[in-house]
Symmetry: C2
Subunit: 367 residues, 2 copies
Amino acid sequence: MSRMNRILQVSAGDLDATVEAGVTHEQLNEHLRDSGLFFSVDPGANATIGGMAATRASGTSSVRYGTMRENVLSLTVVLPDGRVIRTARRARKSAAGYDLTRLFVGSEGTLGVIAEVTVRLFGVPAAISSAVCSFPSVEAAVNVVIKTIQAAVPVARIELADAVQMDAINKYSKLGLPVGPTLWLEFHGTEASVGEQAKMVQMIVYEHGGADFSWATKPEDRRKLWRARHDVVYADKALREGAQLWATDVCVPISRLAECIAETQKDLAASYLPAPIVGHAGDGNFHVSFVLDPNDSKEMAEAQRLNQRLVHRALSLDGTCTGEHGIGCGKLDFLIAEHGEAVSVMRAIKQAIDPNNIMNPGKILQV
Amino acid sequence: MSRMNRILQVSAGDLDATVEAGVTHEQLNEHLRDSGLFFSVDPGANATIGGMAATRASGTSSVRYGTMRENVLSLTVVLPDGRVIRTARRARKSAAGYDLTRLFVGSEGTLGVIAEVTVRLFGVPAAISSAVCSFPSVEAAVNVVIKTIQAAVPVARIELADAVQMDAINKYSKLGLPVGPTLWLEFHGTEASVGEQAKMVQMIVYEHGGADFSWATKPEDRRKLWRARHDVVYADKALREGAQLWATDVCVPISRLAECIAETQKDLAASYLPAPIVGHAGDGNFHVSFVLDPNDSKEMAEAQRLNQRLVHRALSLDGTCTGEHGIGCGKLDFLIAEHGEAVSVMRAIKQAIDPNNIMNPGKILQV
């Protein structure tokens, strides 16, 4: 869809924009630069908005602004038989019939081709402040996240990395950050509100044995502070020459996050594969990136073994087998483990809408 | 479902609760009273949470906290053939397969019976302030709403009533409120943040010719201030002895709200039926309540004529035929007018899941 890259309409008064599926989120935000508005969902890579809708993408700012599930207002979809539908109007809410928008968001191309997307926009906050701080344990860091959210602090980002990840970042980016569990935070609001939020969270951090915040408020300083977080893919790859990343993710209720990460770290420490952990802690979502040679069947088997243990651990904690990466063809069995009988409802929907199985066959469901 | 009224689990650490379908939102909030948490969706009447999920209910606080679409994490559903599914885990987000939760939310009982609902909870804000003020025109009031949302003020409620409605309220509640377009507002946050929000909105109000805020911060004063808004059903009924209300609602992009209400008011002023307007202005959603004798076919025909004009006006402004009341059997034709070909996708889903049409037949779709 990369040539369908036109921005069709920006409604500043309604805080929404309609784009063709091939428009990337960076392209949309560049277009919005002088409008005082922005599109919030940022999955890291410069993904297309159509692809982000198809995979129900999220990212670092979803704890405050929501995932694609909350940020898509309407879709134009080409059905398998060539008919074109629009799933909703631009109204902010509707009680008119089945929620087709949410059905196509996250359907990974298996029900139709998303051609246009109408997304929510937000006003650029008057003040933004970023901070980073380290902790004596993952549990301490995660408890700060839980307390922050319970205290209704409207934190805009709250990201976690473990010691293995911090070590990789230091080596790659030639930084001297403490090699321990680390949180990156970002606060959005008015000048006064950002100050108040930061003060509340700094107090929670102290209570859990965390270090002083390293602060950044100027845009270039914030970019520098976040670059370490955004560069994890490169930092992880650099851990072994010629290696590739084989990434997985799970998401659990936040009260189980510390436990889920701690058990996973034990598994990973006992393995010979390097596997840093980084996560969108505010959502209970984290990623494990196995640094391996994809042509080495022994290494792939080891990653799969660890991944299987990770997913079943997440499911046993009332979590999901994937928070944002999707099912694709790699997690078909985990979808069944997670949803059981409900998968038959998904299959019935797939067969009703795409009876000839011509839409991205083999993804999500084996029909 | 009213006897399925047990609260099954409250996870304070995860800010969620799981209840049987017959639990009402007041019952849940009573149960949560000393926990520092609350369930945000408040459609006015003391509805059951299962019913609210089935109708995708919203209400006065959805502008800040979302509708049932955003507040349901998971459902337990009995399918037409008796199988029981759970639509999702308690994780805050998931990319695992089709979004069955959102498919059943708003399906009005036509796809299965909702037996249990897991909902999001929020922390009770440290400070709450309410205000009411009147405006020279609906346009001025609506422009205040638009500017407030564009300025990213996280207003918790922002409700609109027109002059006809204010007159009915004054008569019923023996109040002396100005008989003009009126906004009720509520601010949630820390003490400092509530003060700052209120100051920002008061400035916007002045710019649009609005009056000074009447303030209420103590719980009993806030209840009094909001009672006038919550009593509109009784106030409207009292306009004509023995009359009933025949209510309709639409929702439009907020930039078209003033225009949609102004045109509707012209229609209503030219009719002999009393019909006050009240709305969840922050969502672009408003209600018209025709005060009539349901056994008088002439009055019913007049309400239907006005309703048809209202819905087509909303659709022509890229709005929806119902923001929160649902399709039921009264808006079947409007669903087709709004969604066109997409209704055939809804029908295919209905037939796939409920082939014998035993689930609430005749609602949403004529199968």
